[in-house]
């Protein structure tokens, strides 16, 4: 029986583990957190159809229970050494594992909004990130702002830490546009009296039903989209925010007072992926995401034979894309092992 070690217990890791267990392999998943699920645990509803995240996590948990694979939580890998065609892995809790193949599924981290100081995250009271808002959108979440009132005017800022040379990230994080549309609609449903403005550069509605949702946001929910990047924000004495931007379609500078500002933070490869790359001796792209050997036909192959890649450690991905990428990783591993 072949043994496969999967680094990362998010959706990519679990999905790969399930598919490889089904194929008759022995799989161990190493997860640094105390529970499986990764970043999905922080999300409430998923675009484009507002599926409750629980629905996905419950199914994944059920799979984990049903399938027979080992899980090491609160564990990180320290070293990986290749020896006689096998991988000798040592973990932070001094366990020693021997694997025939390794799958890196370390995922992403959210852009730290502190680094875009001009937007005042954690400096002004009512500037939050999309991840913070997701928490607030859970049933019972408190959406009030200053003096216990509900926000009357809300601004969403797109591309925070994505497509931004100044924050060092040139790439598009792909999912934030539609996340913004989804969250704007959710807020509008919760707060029908609020005016909502989205400040964007481009809106990239690439997926199935995305464009339709964007149209619905404008037509049905009266959400306004302004093409222009925010230059700065300042806090007024009543804790509302004065934001400055330019409406590039009308070619005019613009100032607006809002009660709440939501920063649609992008994805970064993060420390987990960087550490895994170092331990495995595999390369990163300039963006920090892991290099694949071929864009089209080998998107699960790393530079090292026997080390495979799954999910958003290779590029920003939606939940849907991640699941598909993980399944294809499992197929590649299975095929590779059968040839040996």
């Amino acid at each position: 029986m072949k043994h496969i070690v999967i680094i990362g217990g998010g959706i990519a890791g679990i999905e790969t583990a399930c598919a490889l267990t089904d194929a008759g392999h022995w799989v161990t998943v190493i997860e640094k957190d105390s529970q499986l699920g990764g970043k999905l645990n922080n999300w409430s509803y998923l675009f484009p159809d507002f599926t409750p995240t629980e629905k996905i996590t419950v199914e994944l948990q059920a799979k984990c229970r049903d399938k027979d694979f080992s899980i090491l939580t609160s564990t990180e890998i320290s070293t990986i050494l290749r020896k006689d065609g096998k991988f000798n892995i040592e973990t932070s809790s001094d366990q020693k594992l021997e694997a025939d193949a390794v799958v890196v599924a370390t995922g992403y981290e959210l852009f730290d909004a502190h680094r875009k100081e001009e937007y005042g995250y954690k400096i002004y009271d009512h500037v939050i990130t999309s991840a913070d808002l997701e928490e607030l959108l859970k049933p019972g979440g408190d959406l009030t702002v200053a003096a216990g009132k509900y926000p009357k005017r809300i601004a969403f800022v797109h591309c925070v830490g994505s497509r931004d040379e100044k924050s060092g990230n040139h790439y598009c994080s792909k999912v934030c546009c539609i996340t913004g549309v989804k969250q704007a609609i959710e807020l509008k449903m919760r707060l029908p009296d609020a005016e909502i403005f989205c400040f964007y550069m481009d809106l990239r509605m690439y997926g199935k039903h995305f464009e339709e949702l964007y149209r619905e946001a404008q037509e049905k929910y009266d959400i306004q989209f302004i093409r222009g990047r925010l230059s700065e924000a300042s806090e007024k004495i009543d804790k509302s925010l004065l934001i400055k931007s330019e409406d590039t379609l009308s070619g005019r500078p613009l100032k607006m007072n809002v009660d709440l500002m939501v920063l649609l933070v992008g994805m970064e490869a993060g420390k987990g992926t960087a550490n895994a790359a170092k331990a495995c001796g595999i390369g990163c792209e300039e963006s920090g995401f892991l290099k694949t050997t071929d864009t089209f036909l080998k998107s699960n192959f790393s530079e090292q034979e026997g080390i495979f890649l799954a999910g958003s450690c290779t590029a920003p991905m939606s939940v849907n894309d991640t699941i598909l990428h993980a399944r294809s990783a499992a197929m590649e591993v299975k095929h590779w092992l059968s040839k040996r």
Binding site: E117, I123, L242
Partner: protein, 615 residues
């Protein structure tokens, strides 16, 4: 007096260079502004001229600044400059002494050993000719070092040396030949006539015993005179123009003349005073990003050669790191800005939409607070300043809280001087009409322009680090030392740009543990984020920033402190080290102390309450 045809190359060359210098320096001085001319007239008979002469001796002859940079390099320059100067002076005295007259033509002194065939008999003559031999030896030692430096510049503490063009090459080669040829010619003549002094005599005798020196004598003297003549003719098109022009520069500088915001006689004098020593290359951080052709020495060279491109002119951070190192003391930043003004003359915006108006503020207002555009991008600094003002009870007017014009400095840095003047006038009117006598700014870029280009009589401009220090000294701020090891990064515009080095350090000393570092104050590094460079690529900026950060990280600080929002923004991007403005650190310390005090007071209250219960 005797004469001979070989004096012609030298004499013609000397005549040419004298006329050329008189004409060109005359043109430059006549094109100075009226005020500058009156500065000269009013200073020429004062002690300023004496200071200038002293500076010429110390710098142009003895090269004290280069000595400080590297003793071998200093010795090389001193032996060539001071040695040659003494050769001329002592040689002339020797000739005067020999012919017993004061009207000795220059060639008689220079070629004296050819004309005088008898050994000197008087004591004074013997002493003078011995010292001439020693002086020539002194100069030759410098020439040998110069040969060696061309081959190996590292010995002289310089990593890089400048590239030469044709005029420089000719001048350099003739300069290298002058002294060896003189030595050989004098020795050969001494060998023929059996005269000479302590060095030329034995060398001459030795040469005479080996070679048929009679046939060498004339060619050597011709070659010596030719080398001198060639040097004089190549001088105007070579970097050695700095030798005569620097003397003029030192006088004018001592008379208080500065580079204006236009190209003029004085800026030309500065350009021609550059010796292209290349010392500025080593301090330039652009080389950390592999940019190696935009440094000050090259810009001045291109200005002289009239082939300066905007690509090079604007590819500079204007950090000013090259300036303290310049042995000639050139105003390198201002020269570049002057050139930028010339290059962007056509693009100046009118800013007609600015509405000038007067401002009425409360008469109790102590200070105007001007955060600046960059500080609006780092709101944590504004928040800290506001909170500190609240703690100290400062009554202030936040001038640019919602909207105001830019301070004008970024425009000035890129040469948009006329446009900047309109913004300056707009802000100036507001400041003056408020009637407040103190303005506190958070951004060193604004600070510099408020200080230098805003005419604000009776109004004190302060950077917040100065003002917070004053508040602390007035006991309006609580003191609390945090157990943090901090490296302070001098912002270019505040440090080298405005000479504010001590106030931020005094302030930090009270609130954290400050670590002294190698490159600080005048030699402080630039963060790489400067607005003055509009050509540099982001990845190049990042390289400059990371090289600076790596140096700071070696001291293992808990955090990096600065006093500039732009430095903060630039460093924050790298994510390697926490970085805070000085105001944030002070606020952190105060907040920490107040928390403790609140805790103590609640404990005391609690204790009292307990007592009350007990009794």
């Amino acid at each position: 007096m005797e004469t001979t045809p070989f004096i012609l190359p030298f004499t013609i060359g000397l005549l040419f260079i004298s006329c050329f210098l008189v004409i060109i320096i005359g043109i430059w001085i006549s094109s100075l502004s009226r005020i500058d001319k009156s500065r000269i007239i009013h200073s020429i008979l004062t002690k300023k001229s004496w200071f200038a002469i002293r500076e010429i001796v110390m710098e142009s002859l003895l090269h004290r600044k280069i000595f400080r940079k590297n003793p071998v390099l200093g010795y090389m320059h001193m032996s060539l400059a001071f040695g040659w100067f003494l050769l001329i002076v002592v040689g002339h005295i020797e000739a005067c002494n020999h012919y017993q007259t004061f009207s000795v033509p220059a060639y008689m002194a220079i070629f004296m050993r050819y004309f005088v065939t008898e050994p000197s008999t008087t004591l004074s003559g013997k002493i003078l000719s011995a010292s001439m031999d020693l002086l020539l030896l002194f100069v030759l030692s410098g020439v040998v070092l110069a040969y060696y430096k061309r081959a190996n510049s590292r010995l002289f503490g310089m990593k890089k040396t400048t590239q030469l063009k044709l005029g420089d090459r000719i001048a350099l080669i003739s300069l290298w030949l002058i002294f060896p040829l003189r030595f050989l010619a004098e020795s050969v003549s001494a060998g023929i006539h059996h005269n000479g002094s302590i060095i030329s005599h034995p060398t001459g005798e030795l040469l005479a015993s080996i070679f048929p020196v009679h046939s060498f004598e004339m060619p050597l003297w011709w070659a010596y005179s030719g080398a001198l003549g060639l040097f004089f003719f190549a001088l105007p098109v070579s970097r050695y123009m700095h030798i005569p022009v620097e003397v003029v520069l030192i006088f004018l500088r001592n008379y208080g003349i500065k580079v204006q915001k236009r190209i003029g006689g004085y800026s030309r004098i500065q350009v021609y005073s550059c010796s292209r020593c290349g010392i500025c290359l080593d301090s330039c951080q652009m080389s950390h990003a592999a940019i190696k052709d935009t440094q000050s020495v090259y810009i001045l060279k291109h200005i002289r050669n009239k082939n300066l491109t905007d690509e090079k002119l604007f590819n500079c951070l204007l950090c000013g790191r090259c300036q303290p190192d310049c042995p000639v003391g050139l105003e390198l930043n201002n020269l570049r800005i002057t050139q930028r003004i010339e290059s962007t003359k056509e693009y100046n915006s009118s800013y007609e939409y600015l509405k000038n108006g007067k401002i009425a503020v409360s008469p109790q207002t102590e200070v105007i607070y001007f955060a600046g555009c960059m500080t609006h991008l780092t709101p944590a600094i504004i928040k800290s300043v506001k909170e500190i003002f609240a703690v100290a009870g400062v009554k202030y007017w936040f001038m640019d809280e919602e909207k105001t014009a830019c301070c004008g400095r970024p425009l000035m840095q890129v040469g948009q001087y006329e446009a900047a003047k309109k913004l300056i006038e707009h802000n100036r009117m507001q400041i003056l009409s408020s009637g407040v006598k103190k303005i506190v700014v958070s951004c060193p870029i604004c600070y510099k322009v408020f200080n230098e280009d805003y005419a604000l009589p009776g109004i004190r401009v302060m950077h917040h680090s100065e003002y917070l220090l004053e508040l602390m000294a007035d006991k309006r701020l609580p003191i609390n030392k945090l157990p943090l090891r901090v490296v302070y990064h001098d912002p270019c515009e505040l440090g080298r740009g405005s000479s504010i080095y001590h106030q931020p350090r005094l302030l930090l000393d009270e609130y954290v543990e400050l670590i002294p570092i190698k490159n600080e104050k005048k030699t402080a590094l630039c963060c790489g984020g400067s607005l003055a460079n509009i050509k540099i690529q982001m990845n190049e900026r990042n390289q400059i920033r990371d090289t600076a950060l790596d140096e700071y990280l070696a001291y293992q600080p808990d955090l990096l402190a600065t006093a500039c929002p732009l430095c903060k923004k630039t460093f924050t991007k790298s994510n390697k080290l926490p970085i805070h403005d000085i105001a944030e650190i002070v606020y952190m310390a105060i907040l920490n102390k107040m928390d403790i005090e609140i805790n103590i007071s609640t404990q005391i209250e609690k204790a009292n309450a307990d007592k009350n219960l007990r009794f």
